[in-house]
């Protein structure tokens, strides 16, 4: 995959991520997030992670974001009257964000770069990122985590239903 393609996808990703933070209307923020997730799924496809890309679209963009949109529509949220904090808070937040970004790149990525080797380690083995391999890894090595996650989902479902239920007064 060429650097040109990466730059295009990265630009789309950043633009839609900025859309999430900067839009006034929550529905448009949600849609910007859906676009971000979709572009991320495309990037995953290029990184030989096919099942993860499909799951990203089905679970994240197709279910979680629909849940977000549902809640926004249910609460009928129009454009935010006060979308962002006051100017001082915004300045400080952006400053801290840039400091964090610079620190992360300088102290995490730079020292790691020489040890990582060029070109993404060459071609991956046959069937890398496929459903079979992910399933094998998931159901042998990570079986316990898998079972615990299913219990977690059950707890989340019950919790969500109980919390959002209308109390019969």
């Amino acid at each position: 995959m060429s650097p040109v393609l990466f730059v295009i996808l990265a630009a789309m990703l950043i633009v839609s991520a900025l859309g999430v933070v900067l839009q006034r209307s929550p529905i448009r923020c949600a849609l910007a997030l859906v676009t971000t997730l979709f572009v991320l799924a495309v990037i995953f496809l290029f990184l030989d992670a096919q099942l993860v890309a499909a799951l990203q679209v089905i679970v994240y963009a197709g279910a979680i974001m629909v849940l977000f949109l549902f809640v926004i529509m249910l609460l009928n949220l129009q454009q935010d009257v006060r979308a962002m904090a006051w100017l001082g808070a915004r300045v400080v937040a952006v400053l801290m964000g840039s400091l964090f970004l610079l620190a992360a790149v300088r102290f995490f990525v730079y020292p790691l770069a020489p040890r990582l080797g060029p070109g993404m380690g060459g071609a991956p083995p046959e069937g890398f990122g496929s459903t079979e391999q992910l399933g094998q890894r998931l159901f042998t090595h990570y079986l316990f985590a898998f079972e615990i996650t299913s219990v977690l989902l059950l707890v989340a479902i019950i919790g969500a239903v109980v919390l959002a239920k209308r109390k019969l007064a």
Partner: protein, 102 residues
């Protein structure tokens, strides 16, 4: 993506994470704050997938699987809490949901 070094992905993910973090700090609508948290989780997913590809190990993608599952559970419960809070206080502005503040 074999001509693109993995550091580029790490920087992209760091940028995405920063945008999400700034969003959490700056936005006042709780649901939008929640969405920025999801953005941060996705930045982490990108790091995991990039490293999984670099190191030819499926473990990174398994972790991404779990992160997505946990994000789904967290989104469901969080949005239920927001709905419950909205029913009581008629607002989703973080500045106005301040009953527990000192």
């Amino acid at each position: 993506m074999s001509a693109v070094p993995v550091e580029w992905f790490l920087v992209l993910a760091a940028l995405l994470f920063t945008i999400g973090a700034v969003g959490v700090l700056v936005r006042r609508n709780i649901i939008v704050i929640f969405m920025c948290i999801e953005l941060m989780l996705n930045a982490v997913n990108l790091v995991f997938v990039a490293f999984s590809r670099q190191l030819h190990s499926m473990d990174g993608q398994v972790v991404v699987f779990f992160v997505m599952t946990v994000a789904a559970a967290e989104a469901a419960v969080g949005l239920a809490i927001i709905i419950a809070a909205f029913r009581n206080r008629e607002t989703v502005n973080a500045d106005e949901l301040n009953l527990l503040r000192w």
